[in-house]
């Protein structure tokens, strides 16, 4: 089983060229409901079973716009609704794996500071590689503290998530002696067990070398609109 990193999120314009008429109409209505929610305070009580209309749209996105576009549509809904931490937490905790992934992929496009880290940390505790891959994006690069970030990188290598999924890998690895030690220990363990060392490990190990601050490659924006 190969693990492909999540494909880039599409903008509204790009979606419009790909979606059929019924899907576009559905998306128009869904985004209007999300915009309506943005203009009103999120008053949904945490313990309530009732669901705001745009959150029902969030759940149904795949079957109206195609599973292959569900991430992009959900990301648009979250940004259009200016989803805050309570709504994001609700959508994540009550979501399918695909709905959780879309929350994770959109975090960096929302104005959250570091407050949504518990969602990233939850995803990193799972063994679902689609969630792990989505959790190590730009939001984690910006906010995850070093210990958890190193473990996230190691988990990618463990579970077969390509390290290319890790945002700002070069910047965060540079001069990280502790990460280098962890990678070295992991490689020794694999060699001792007669198992192959994951291909990405040496790549990351090379990035941990201390050096002059190389020009940071700007991270691809996850949200164009």
């Amino acid at each position: 089983m190969t693990h492909t990193p999540p494909s880039p999120l599409l903008s509204r314009k790009e979606l419009d060229t790909l979606l059929g008429g019924a899907a576009r109409a559905w998306l128009d209505e869904a985004l209007a409901e999300a915009a309506h929610a943005a203009a009103h305070d999120d008053t949904t009580p945490a313990e309530s079973y009732s669901v705001p209309p745009w959150e029902l749209r969030y759940a149904a996105a795949g079957r109206h716009c195609g599973l292959e576009h569900a991430d992009s549509v959900r990301a648009l809904l979250l940004t259009e609704a200016h989803a805050g931490l309570p709504a994001l937490t609700r959508l994540y905790e009550q979501g399918t794996a695909a709905e959780r992934r879309a929350v994770l992929l959109t975090l960096s496009a929302l104005d959250l500071g570091a407050t949504a880290l518990p969602l990233v940390e939850d995803a990193l505790r799972t063994n679902d590689t689609t969630l792990v891959a989505a959790a190590v994006g730009p939001y984690a690069a910006a906010h995850l503290e070093p210990h958890n970030w190193r473990h996230a990188v190691l988990k990618c290598l463990f579970t077969g998530v390509p390290v290319e999924a890790v945002a700002e890998l070069a910047r965060r690895s540079r001069g990280d002696a502790e990460l280098a030690r962890m990678l070295g220990d992991f490689a020794s363990e694999r060699i001792a067990a007669g198992r192959p060392v994951p291909a990405g490990l040496h790549h990351v190990l090379a990035l941990t070398a201390p050096g002059p601050a190389a020009p940071t490659v700007p991270t691809a924006s996850t949200q164009e609109s």
Binding site: M1, Y49, V51, L56, A59, A60, A61, G62, R63, L67, A70, Q94, G95, T96, A97, A98, E99, R100, T126, N127, D128, T129, T130
Partner: protein
């Protein structure tokens, strides 16, 4: 032989089972929510279970090349426990999920008033969400239970062709088929229903609107019983097309009514249908 197991509880099974099922031809399955053997004591326990059916279990299945969908409901047994009945209020937020292809398992266990209420309320939820319903028929007092089930279906807003009556046997198949509902048979390693009796039922009643499942769970059961039925059908003179109808096209047609069936996993040697049937009711 491509196989769709329309009723199997994979949370109770190992990855060896997934591998053996794939090797036997299983490419798709539906996992109905049900009783865990150990009674639950709160709605939260159901929610974690529903989340697993919508998250972890499809991921596991995908590792073995099997498409996983689920049906969600408050099961008949726990419908009698007031600690669990608030699940009914929370179901709407789960029934909108992309991989939910029916409301189920619902139905009767001991035929109590609480079960009456849960069954009627959940048939109504199915109608409101554009979903079919998987209705379990009781293991005890089966024929009376089936007749009462059919009455409740008739009074509900759900058309019989959107209802699958499951765990049928020789004594209940006629009433079930006369009702216009789909007929499901669970094949067990013990006496409840076996593959040769299943073949006899198919010879008598035909292959239309009949589904066969393993209903494998944490009890004595066998996830390869679907394949055994296919082999027994061929041995008894049924054609490969008959087998494909019962083990693949019928479950695709029934759950495809949800519009939410996605069978991208390549099926081995589709016999007569192109890709369109794989996508179910789209």
């Amino acid at each position: 032989m491509r196989i769709f197991d329309p009723h199997i509880h994979m949370t109770s099974r190992t990855t060896d089972d997934y591998q053996a099922m794939y090797d036997a031809g299983v490419r798709a399955l539906v996992e109905p929510s049900f009783w865990l053997g150990q009674p639950r004591t709160s709605p939260a326990s159901f929610f974690d279970y529903f989340d697993a059916l919508l998250g972890w279990e499809p991921f596991r299945a995908a590792q073995y090349g099997i498409a996983h969908h689920c049906t969600l409901a408050l099961n008949p047994k726990e419908a009698n426990d007031p600690r669990c009945t608030p699940v009914l209020d929370a179901l709407p937020r789960y029934l909108v999920k992309d991989s939910v292809v029916a409301v189920g398992e619902i139905g009767y266990d001991s035929m109590t008033p609480a079960e009456d209420h849960a069954l009627a309320a959940q048939l109504q939820l199915a109608a409101e969400h554009g979903l079919p319903a998987l209705v379990h028929t009781p293991h005890r007092d089966k024929l009376a239970g089936l007749r009462r089930t059919i009455d409740v279906v008739r009074e509900s807003g759900l058309a019989p062709e959107r209802v699958l009556l499951d765990h049928l046997n020789e004594t209940t198949v006629k009433d079930a088929r006369d009702s216009g509902c789909w007929a499901g048979f669970s094949i067990y390693p013990d006496t409840k229903m076996d593959e040769d009796r299943m073949v006899a039922v198919l010879q008598l009643h035909g292959t239309e609107k009949v589904l066969v499942n393993s209903a494998a769970d944490w009890g004595r059961s066998d996830p390869l019983k679907t394949r055994r039925v296919g082999d027994a059908m061929l041995a008894a003179g049924f054609t490969e097309d008959d087998v494909d109808q019962v083990l693949w096209r019928n479950p695709v047609a029934f759950y495809g009514q949800s519009g939410r069936l996605h069978l991208d996993t390549a099926a081995p040697e589709p016999l007569h249908e192109g890709n369109s049937i794989l996508r179910g009711g789209e």
